[in-house]
Amino acid sequence: MELFHFALNNAGLLLSRTVEHIALVGVAVGIATLTGVPIGIAITKNERVAQSVLYLASIIVTIPSIALFGIMIPVLSLIGHGIGYVPAVIAVLLYSQLPIIRNTYTAINNVNPALREAARGIGMNPNQRLRLVEIPLAIPVIMAGVRTAVVLNIGVMAIAAYIGAGGLGTFISRGISQSDPRQLIVGAIAVSLLAIIVDYSLLYLQKRLTPKGMSREAAAT
């Protein structure tokens, strides 16, 4: 009850923090999609390059976010952005690369060889094959990668509150430092709900973007 009152009294702040959180993650993952998808498509041309790129991306994801912030702050302070939203956005950008590149790469690579041969056989050039066949078929899997990236980075952005990036994590960090369980719990619940709701919305979007003829197969997976 007390929590509820607290949330209501701070509804404005809660809302603006949520918007901030979404905006930061959205912008960063948006940029990451613009880089990750072309990289994922490009590396299908060369198996060895693909393995190296994916390996590098998987190492980056392994690095804990707070450690990444700790490493980035001294470097970015050279250009005057040691703390704040810049390191947070860069971290999200980096973390998003693996799911997006990997999903794009596997999706394009897994396009049924028969379809690829049929596309070649009827005289599509490589661009047409990519545009008319491979990318439409890969969309659901690419979207799944974007979704993974977004959900993962809603959590990363929460931690970024500690380096002054704002967002819903601020409630948690204040809650801990001021020993205020209301802020703590409201912050934790808000960020959890955000992750869950965004996950489901993106799942819905993913289904909408799936080419119609494939929805049956996509629904099965």
């Binding site: 392994t62 707070i66 450690a67 001294p74 929460a158 948690i172």
Partner: protein, 243 residues
């Protein structure tokens, strides 16, 4: 050919960079500053690892049997809805998990281990379940057909065939675990997070890095370690890494 020459150039470049970094750090006394933190790093690293081992092994011991039980045909009704809950659970950010754990259990090691345990439990349970459910039904039918008991089927057919997926789950889960341990400092459980967060507060780059670099390395090592274990333990015929 061009790729090889680029690689060669890169190697030279890296060596030169390391050399100059060494020269700079020696002359500016950064190394001495780092060395000053060495005892702290050692002490906190042990604490860090202990938190991981404690929560990680608890999670494995709990999650794998849970996954096995849920994958039994009798549990089919409960399992699907429970998996939905677990799926939702894995989307909850780890900081939120720790924060909630703290608000119910207070501060200290116990809430930290509990929070880490919960965050680690979900992916392992999920992968154990999907791994076992994904075993080719023809294999199960063949196993039943040659007269294996349900237990024999589980240990001789299902688990070996699902092992790769289960290990993948453990790898994800433990990487998340090691990555979350620094946050445990926030709820009073110590670990390398102490150096990072204090370093951020005091704006002391050396302190930050003394925490951040070992944390990052630790995560990479744990990830690689589990990959190696999986490589060795998963039977060759069903191990995509070994063909």
């Amino acid at each position: 050919m061009p790729i090889r020459s680029i690689k060669g150039a890169l190697k030279v470049l890296v060596l030169v960079a390391i050399f100059f970094a060494g020269v700079w750090s020696q002359s500016s006394g950064v190394i001495d500053e780092f060395l000053w933190y060495l005892p702290d790093v050692q002490y906190l690293m042990v604490q860090h690892i202990w938190l991981t081992v404690m929560s990680g092994s608890l999670a494995i011991l709990f999650a794998i049997p849970l996954g096995i039980v849920l994958s039994r045909p009798k549990m089919a009704n409960v399992a699907e809805s429970l998996m939905q809950v677990l799926n939702v659970g894995t989307t909850i950010p780890t900081l939120a998990v720790l924060a909630l754990s703290m608000s119910f259990l207070g501060i200290g090691t116990v809430p930290a281990v509990f929070g880490l345990f919960v965050a680690t439990l979900l992916p392992i349970t999920r992968n154990t379940y999907t791994g076992l459910k994904g075993v080719n039904p023809a294999l199960m039918e063949a196993a039943a057909g040659i007269g294996m008991s349900p237990m024999q089927r589980l240990f001789k057919v299902e688990l070996p065939n699902a092992l790769y997926v289960i290990f993948a789950g453990m790898r994800t889960a433990l990487t998340i675990n090691v990555g979350t341990v620094p946050l445990a400092f926030l709820i009073g459980a110590g670990g390398l997070g102490e150096l990072i967060f204090t370093g951020i507060d005091l704006y002391d780059p050396v302190m930050m890095l003394s925490g951040a670099i070992p944390t990052a390395l630790l995560a990479i090592v744990v990830d690689a370690l589990i990959a190696v274990i999986a490589f060795l333990v998963v039977p060759r015929g069903v191990n995509p890494g070994r063909t």
